[in-house]
């Protein structure tokens, strides 16, 4: 039995399914129109079909051709991804409610721990410095209007 390359098959199938969903969604929700007068649904539907086709081809190549490079799960930077994305999410939640300074502290303070060697004290110092830089560049330098700090209520 041939050695199947699942790092090609799985993403290929997911992408093919996604394309199919797009095509069906477009066909159901938007007017397709005729070739001469295309409705808003024609192009997205065709695109969905194309994506589904390409995804299937990728899955098929993984099925027949196992010599393609594989993803080594150990090389995935889970920790970095988690802390960095969490930091940006916190910024997004704080910027309108609590203001720029808490937002910057949030993104810097959390994302800095993406690095395994991060320690609390240097991270606090870095947050303070970057708050000052953000204020200097964006509020003072570029004159953008940010709420610097405030209550979320």
């Amino acid at each position: 039995m041939a050695d199947r390359n699942y790092s090609e098959i799985v993403p290929g199938v997911v992408i093919a399914l996604f394309g199919a969903i797009v095509a069906i969604y477009a066909a159901q929700h938007y007017t397709i129109g005729t070739l001469q007068r295309m409705g808003p649904g024609m192009f997205p539907m065709a695109l969905g079909v194309l994506i589904a086709g390409l995804g299937s081809i990728q899955a098929l190549t993984g099925w027949v051709n196992s010599s393609l490079p594989r993803v080594d799960p150990r090389t995935i930077q889970w920790r970095a991804a988690l802390f960095i994305l969490a930091g940006v999410i916190v910024f997004s939640l704080l910027i309108r409610t609590a203001g720029l300074i808490p937002g910057v502290i949030g993104v810097v303070g959390i994302s800095a721990f993406a690095d395994k060697g991060a320690r609390a004290i240097p991270v606090i110092i870095l947050s303070v410095i970057l708050c000052a830089i953000a204020w200097l560049i964006f509020s003072l330098g570029l004159g953008m209007h940010f709420k610097l700090i405030g209550w979320p209520f």
Binding site: A2, D3, I15, G19, V22, Y25, Y30, T31, T34, L35, Q36, R37, M38, P40, F43, P44, L47, G48, I51, L54, G55, I57, Q58, T61, V64, N65, S66, S67, L68, P69, V71, T75, I76, Q77, A80, A81, I84, L85, G87, V88, I89, F91, S92, I95, L100, G103, V107, V108, S111, A112, A114, D115, G117, A118, V123, L130, I133, A134, F138, L142
Partner: protein, 497 residues
């Protein structure tokens, strides 16, 4: 207006204090971000993109362009001193640049690559000045069918040259086009794929997509992998930079070959400075009498690619400005900046906005001169920057990404989109999907749909219109060839394990 008048107008525009200042800021930031490993040119431009909304369109483009070719200058520094490319365009410079550092010739390599960059840049600008006008005059007769075909060719070429399988590139292009379609339909106003979210009514924000795809995912990938403490500050003293007569003599031909190769790949849609640099290196190795010495610190091995990538940087403006069709992800961002300022890119740009076009072109000269000044005497400053630990730099980068995205339209939702595209971008990166075709598809997608629908409307629903028009048919034929060429390894290389 005559050609000469245009040049004077451009020079006047570029030399105004306001534009001069932003040109300097652009090349300065470009060098800075180019030096730091892990921040590529697209990430650099998308990080600084929001800054340009406050500026006049000419200054905005001058600054963005400065960042673009500035990163190519700065990127060689990290390649030569650390063996880590500052950005993808300088990857090939590592091969002979780092051995030169190990031999104590790092200073010479830095000086000579700056010369090479300037040479290549100048060559590219001269071509841009010569040919952009001719091409755009010709392009005035293009109709929607030609535009659609040209964009299709650009997208297919972009998938082909990105390393990895063409199928993955095509998937990214198609997904990019799909993301580009989100929002109101241009003909009917129907809101597509907005899922009732008001923030998506105008479509997905270009900055949010670029920041997530190139900024956040790049930072995630490089955390814990970049270490800059191994630089010897003595190697960059001015006295250590003086090249021998032999070095100079051996550099001429590689620079001339490199700039021709770079200029060629720069103008082709979908290819760009990275490919140009690799090709230039490969050619140098082939014509050399001592190819076995490449990789051990041969000066030809750094001169040719560094000339090529800068020449390509400049000539890639030809299709972008003359046709309104960007050839690379970076050019797509440039085009986005134009459109955000309400300027329609295309062949009319040169005649309708001569001060913008010629001001931008002439600013390239000024920027390249500024870069030589920034890179030779100030090289020590950039090297110090390499010694700042990466775990201090990356939170700062993320902060700029967050504030930058938010400030585009004061939207916290856009920052959430950055998170989404960051996660998606990293997942694609792990899976070996190239990110640049997605951004290109995103920008070109809506334009392609518009031209496709208009062409079909004019031809009363007949697909033959794309084939009966000679230019369109030729372009489509080339696109098909490029596609088949990319598919070839997929069909013929079915080796069992």
């Amino acid at each position: 207006m005559s050609y000469f008048d245009n040049l004077i107008l451009g020079l006047q525009t570029a030399l105004s204090w306001y534009n001069l200042l932003w040109c300097f800021i652009g090349v300065f930031l470009g060098t800075l971000l180019g030096v730091i490993p892990g921040i590529g040119v697209v990430a650099a431009i998308s990080m600084l993109f929001p800054l340009t909304f406050q500026l006049e369109p000419t200054a905005a483009l001058i600054m963005l362009a400065g960042i673009w070719y500035g990163t190519s200058y700065g990127g060689s520094t990290a390649s030569i001193l650390l063996n880590v490319p500052g950005s993808a365009t300088n990857a090939v410079t590592c091969l002979d640049g780092y051995p030169m550092t190990q031999q104590g010739r790092g200073g010479i390599a830095l000086l000579m690559t700056t010369v090479a960059s300037f040479f290549g840049g100048s060559f590219g600008i001269i071509l841009l000045m010569g040919f952009a006008g001719t091409i755009s005059a010709y392009a005035l007769s293009f109709s929607s069918a030609e535009y659609f075909s040209l964009m299709l060719l650009g997208l297919i070429a972009a998938c082909n040259v990105s390393n990895g399988s063409i199928i993955k590139g095509l998937i990214m292009v198609a997904l990019g086009i799909l993301f580009g379609l989100v929002g109101s339909d241009i003909y009917t106003g129907t809101r597509r794929f907005d899922f009732g979210i008001l923030d998506l009514a105008d479509g997905i924000n270009l900055v949010a997509l670029a920041m997530g795809l190139f900024g956040v995912s790049e930072v995630v990938a490089s955390v814990g992998k970049v270490d800059g403490k191994q630089v010897d500050p003595n190697s960059v003293k001015l006295s250590a930079m003086k090249p021998t007569r032999e070095d100079v003599r051996r550099s001429w031909l590689p620079m001339i070959r490199g700039s021709s190769i770079g200029a060629f790949f720069g103008t082709l849609p979908g290819t760009g400075s990275s490919i140009a640099a690799f090709m230039a290196y490969a050619v140098e190795k082939r014509v050399s009498k001592t190819p076995e010495k490449f990789g051990t610190g041969e000066i030809e091995g750094i001169m040719a690619p560094e000339t090529a990538n800068n020449a390509a940087d400049q000539t890639s403006f030809i299709p972008t400005l003359a046709l309104g069709i960007p050839g690379s992800a970076t050019m797509a961002l440039m085009l986005g900046a134009l459109m955000i300022h309400g300027i329609a890119p295309g062949p009319q740009l040169m005649t309708e906005q001569p001060s913008l076009f010629w001001g931008l072109v002439m600013s390239f000269w000024i920027g390249n001169v500024l870069l030589v000044i920034l890179n030779v005497p100030l090289i020590g400053v950039w090297v110090r920057l390499l010694m700042v630990p990466y775990n201090w730099l990356f939170p700062a980068v993320l902060m700029f990404i967050c504030i930058g995205t938010y400030s585009v339209s004061n939207s916290a939702f856009d920052v959430m989109l950055v998170v989404m595209f960051g996660a998606l971008g990293y997942a694609f990166r792990v899976g070996g999907y190239p990110a640049a075709p997605m951004l290109l598809g995103f920008v070109l997608g809506p334009m392609m749909e518009e031209h496709f629908r208009r062409a079909m409307l004019l031809s009363r629903g007949d697909f033959g219109t794309f084939l009966s028009r000679p230019i369109s048919a030729t372009v489509l034929a080339i696109a098909l060839l490029v596609l088949l060429w990319g598919l070839k390894p997929l069909i013929f290389n079915r080796k069992p394990a």
